[in-house]
Symmetry: C2
Subunit: 461 residues, 2 copies
């Protein structure tokens, strides 16, 4: 059977494939919330059963100290054919603020909006929906041809959104089991529905939490206001020292190790969307912002950042409470680029806070996670195969881009497995990953399945 | 029957009086929380029944558009005797952070600690406990002597902690019913258990909320971080502009109308506790803070402040979420002194934010409440009677102090009723009003009852 039978199969099975994805998306697999532990187990079990159903072998839920991994393989292509390790994750981000969702995050809903048909649900894009693209590509080939052009190992984890601790340990101890010629990951975005792109870099990250401590207990602002440094105010004052007025990070040494881009690379990135107006529109922010002297693509992909992802202190409920809180806190993350060392960034931050903290409060800085940035050489054969696959699948040659996000396991894969990683993303910049109303664009979902088939065919070549 | 019988009565009834207070304190009358509406009604009804029980007449729960008022009177002292209007409040502050309470806030508990026997409960000091001091003084005289030395009108409201809207309207429409020769309020603190004091001023307040708005929705910090101004960061940067490095409020015009203290007044305030070391100990803060050139008593009582009572934005739950929030918010209050106009302060704040806000975010400032500061002349006869009462009740001449907090209705009373207000407080600076583990010092509670008796006796002449 040839490609035509496969196209026919894919056309005829769209609705069923979508319903299956919606079924999986309805399981609230939020890895960071302890109360979702059972849902994580359900989501893993659902996937293992499904991988068996599509024709993969040895489907298995692997217990870990944290959330389980899901494994399946198909190794009947023979030793002459390469082995592709497919990685993805079934865990999703928390859903708050819940009141901003138009339909409930775990009630997957198809809606026809400005950009066409989208499927809305937490995880629709990041990453259950994209894992499903690859699974449905394998399904189509296995159902129609009873065969795959490559050997497949598939490992889908449940802790990507919390730094991949169990998966990292598994990679270190199971290099042989995971051994592959190439790693394929669908967990990124293309530039626009008709503008495919391939990310050749991922930013790293340092994650932590800052506590500013003042009075021993919450105080009445009538009784103490004016004579005690309010920790909310002190935290704000400390945060305000982290950037200069231009938008550059003002932590001493922060940019020291940043890889300097070549002129050619800068020129290539300068041509990429979004431009400033497009980014303002995509984000809905009144204006763009950021480090002067760099384009939007550079700010997002090639330059490090420092973000306050969460900040809280004192009374935040309805009405008013005239309190001076005993402490205030901020969740801080730094997106990092090659060749920054996350450990050193944490140390620089600690040194910064110790230098600027006034004697009227004390600070505590906790590290939650560390991850190095990644670069992939666009010239290798596997990246060229990806270019051809997108050209066939989307009718347009893909551009090379730098991804502003990170995938914790990628640098581990590069080090432990010594195999090239190819990031074939099918999300979009406005898919609202990590935000309310997450969605996947259905035309991309279905084109993605075909693109994955073309890629595996060329790799199996 | 004379004072001795009254002393005997008070000694013999301590336990019962305490149990009654504990019963009232167990009703969670938090006025700012809509879900506590029924508890507010219960707390008001409990008090009206109790005022009837102690021998007051015409006890009544008065419906309002908000939480009800409680009224009772005793007008049998005759026209020759003055009429004393007693005011207080039965509403209490919210209780979060709940995990910082050693015993549940609405399970009143007596514990013997470093400073002696205290009764712990939300409202123990502010203000149910202090209302009870006055009620028990009336009870003792009515039970033992079947008589009071003055006419009494009593009005206890349920919205003091939310700005007294219904009570304000009631005062304006019922000046005749409330007409009195003197207003007596127990809702403040003395300097120390053996160091009584009388507050001759209360700070006013401006309350509001600042919203900083950026992206239309929460964004993924990987996809947008570095190119969009994070509203948490922007809010922190805006808050950091509100004070200069020395601790002075940096809002243009903020100090313009502040009443200048006389040298004599400054000298008197300079002698008052707490000193810097004592305040650091009371508050548990690493060091004191505040406007340079002013003593602790001045900073708290005679100088205006600007506090961030609450601040929040982004992900504040367990774990981590790499989000750029669409908005961040702060609850702001300014404690004001004579002759600052709360309306003008709100306008100055608005002008400040409009001046400093960058084009990358927008701001919205909402006003929640406005209250002018109050001053009471320490030389009037009624204040002198209070001095004598404390001398008898505590064995120590009271000092004059300025209260850093405010009582919304006081300036209304001064304007509408034209009667002097006397603030006879029985709380302590470390009673944790508005904070976890609120308490009242039991020796003060019982001495307070006697002090109130002595005061009413002298006023009654």
């Amino acid at each position: 059977m040839g490609t035509d039978d496969l196209e026919l199969y894919l056309d005829e099975n769209k609705k069923r494939q979508l319903n299956e994805l919606m079924d999986w998306l309805s399981i609230p697999s939020i890895s960071t919330l302890p109360e979702r532990k059972d849902d994580m187990i359900r989501a893993a079990g659902w996937l293992a059963d499904h991988l068996k159903y599509v024709g993969l072998n040895n489907a298995e839920v692997i217990e870990t100290g944290g959330h389980p991994l899901v494994w399946a393989d198909w190794l009947d292509a023979g030793d002459a054919r390469p082995t592709v390790l497919i990685y993805g994750h079934y865990d999703v981000q928390p859903v708050d603020p819940l009141d901003k969702w138009e339909t409930p995050p775990f009630t997957p809903t198809v809606r026809n909006g400005k950009r066409g048909e989208d499927l809305y649900a937490r995880g629709a894009c990041d990453d259950k929906g994209q894992v499903f693209v690859l699974v449905k590509a394998l399904e189509a080939m296995l159902f129609v041809r009873k065969n795959l052009p490559v050997n497949i190992k598939m490992i889908i984890e449940g802790e990507e959104e919390i730094g991949s601790p169990a998966m990292s340990a598994f990679v270190e101890k199971n290099a042989e089991r995971l051994a592959a010629d190439i790693c394929l990951i669908s967990d990124t975005a293309i530039l626009a529905p008709d503008k495919p792109s391939i990310d050749y870099g991922l930013r790293g990250i340092w994650l932590g939490e800052l506590a500013v401590k003042g009075p021993a207990v919450d105080l009445h602002s009538g009784a103490f206001g004016g004579a005690v440094h309010n920790p909310n105010q002190a935290l704000a004052e400390l945060i305000a020292t982290l950037h200069d007025a231009s938008g550059r990070v003002a932590v001493n040494g922060f940019y020291d190790d940043v890889r300097v881009l070549s002129d050619a690379e800068r020129e290539r990135l300068a041509g990429l969307p979004p431009n400033e107006a497009e980014l303002a529109k995509q984000s809905g922010a009144p204006a763009v912002w950021g480090e002067p002297g760099y384009s939007i693509a550079e700010r997002i992909g090639a330059r490090p950042t420092l973000e306050i992802n969460g900040m809280w202190g004192g009374y935040t409920g309805q009405g008013f409470k005239t309190v001076i809180p005993s402490e205030a806190r901020a969740k801080i993350s730094c997106r990092l680029v090659p060749d920054q060392d996350p450990k050193r960034i944490g140390e620089l931050l600690r040194a910064h806070f110790e230098k600027v903290v006034p004697s009227t409060v004390s600070v505590e800085l906790q590290t939650f996670g560390e991850l190095e940035a990644t670069l992939i050489d666009p010239e290798i054969r596997e990246m060229q195969a990806a270019i051809h696959a997108y050209e066939k699948g989307f009718g347009e040659k893909p551009l090379f881009n730098l991804c502003g996000g990170g995938i914790p396991i990628v640098s581990k894969f590069q080090k432990a497995l010594k195999a090239p990683v190819v990031l074939m993303g099918f999300g979009l910049p406005d898919d609202n990953a990590h935000a309310p109303n997450e969605r996947i664009h259905l035309p991309n979902f279905f084109r993605g399945i075909r693109t994955a088939v073309y890629f595996l065919e060329e790799i199996g070549g």
